[in-house]
């Protein structure tokens, strides 16, 4: 059964409504959302509350339910140049 969730880009406020299955992973969700925000090519992490959601974690393992809002944060890469 599909679960409808919202993924929010924390830094630009943009949101995507998404339908996911219990056996899909956080990596799948990040990949789909990152493709949607392709113009802002970056590495991202996904969080729910105070938890960083691991790439291999499934929707079921993460305890995601209908209408949950997951937040995507661009993962900074710079620091040296």
């Amino acid at each position: 059964m599909s679960i409808a969730i919202t993924v929010k880009n924390v830094y630009n406020g943009s949101t995507i409504r998404m339908e996911v299955e219990n056996d899909e992973t956080m990596g799948d969700i990040i990949k789909s959302a990152a493709e949607y925000w392709r113009k802002e090519a970056s590495a991202y992490i996904l969080k729910k509350g105070k938890m960083l959601l691991r790439s291999s974690m499934t929707v079921a393992e993460a305890g995601i339910i209908t209408d949950d809002v997951l937040e995507m944060i661009p993962d900074p890469e710079g620091g040296s140049r």
């Binding site: 991202y44 105070k50 691991r54 790439s55 661009p74 890469e77 710079g78 620091g79 040296s80 140049r81």
Partner: protein, 253 residues
């Protein structure tokens, strides 16, 4: 004669007043700083002022004009003439003549010696971070990684036995890493310029060194647990819990 100024003759008197700080232990710890750019300058400055005396700085680049807005130790006269690691080591030594700061002008991937107590990452690309993360984790060395992008930054403390940097990564990191490579096939990394300013750099570097002080003082349990994301535009900071990824290569039996 009774005097009261003796406390001002001890360089570290004010630090000793923080109950968990162990200055002598900090002075004895070997610290590897990977990267001598914006974050590296700030980190080394803070390390020396905090009492660290055994510091090795690795970087393979020379100084360019655009570094000067964020790098305390660089001067106009250094541009294109000297290497970052050499200058940071030399000028930071002036802050404390008893500090032994060793520069290594090299790609971090060529470093063979990993006999350090703490590794601090001040890098600008995921590939180098993964390399340092793997070596630090394998050698059981605490690794404190910092990263910035404009007004945003992130600090993560990796302690032996816990989740590592790679546990936080996903396909977007791999794709970002792949975007960094040229098509020459010789492994030359092309690193596009990211936005950067001294205020965010200073915040992230200070957080990294504070975590290093906790570890060096024998209090790793006081370290921030997880990955801290800083948003300098909004003035917010949030620490996210990180857990071990059973599929992470660094955590395979």
């Amino acid at each position: 004669m009774i005097t009261t100024d003796f406390v001002d003759r001890d360089r570290y008197d004010r630090m000793r007043r923080i109950d968990w700080v162990d200055v002598e232990s900090i002075q004895s710890k070997r610290c590897l700083v990977v990267g001598a750019g914006a974050l590296g300058n700030e980190v080394v400055k803070d390390l020396v002022l905090a009492g660290f005396r055994k510091i090795t700085v690795v970087d393979m680049d020379h100084i360019v004009t655009s570094n000067l807005s964020r790098c305390l130790f660089f001067r106009d006269s250094d541009v294109k003439k000297v290497m970052k690691a050499d200058v940071v080591a030399s000028r930071a030594s002036e802050l404390d003549p008893e500090a032994e700061i060793t520069p290594i002008v090299s790609d971090i991937k060529d470093l063979d010696d990993w006999h350090y107590d703490i590794v601090i990452g001040c890098l600008d690309n995921i590939s180098a971070r993964m390399h340092v993360n793997a070596h630090a984790y394998y050698n059981g060395i605490p690794f404190i990684d910092g990263a910035t992008d404009g007004m945003n930054g992130r600090v993560i403390v990796i302690l032996p036995g816990g989740p590592c940097l790679q546990c936080t990564m996903n396909r977007t990191h791999v794709e970002q890493m792949e975007r960094r490579f040229t098509c020459t096939g010789n492994g030359t990394a092309f690193v596009p310029k990211t936005a950067s300013d001294i205020t965010t750099t200073a915040v992230i570097a200070a957080m990294q060194v504070r975590e290093a002080m906790k570890i060096a003082s024998g209090h790793p349990e006081k370290c921030v647990k997880g990955a801290t994301y800083y948003n300098g535009t909004e003035g917010t900071m949030e620490t996210l819990e990180v857990t071990v990824d059973p599929e992470c290569v660094n955590h395979q039996e």
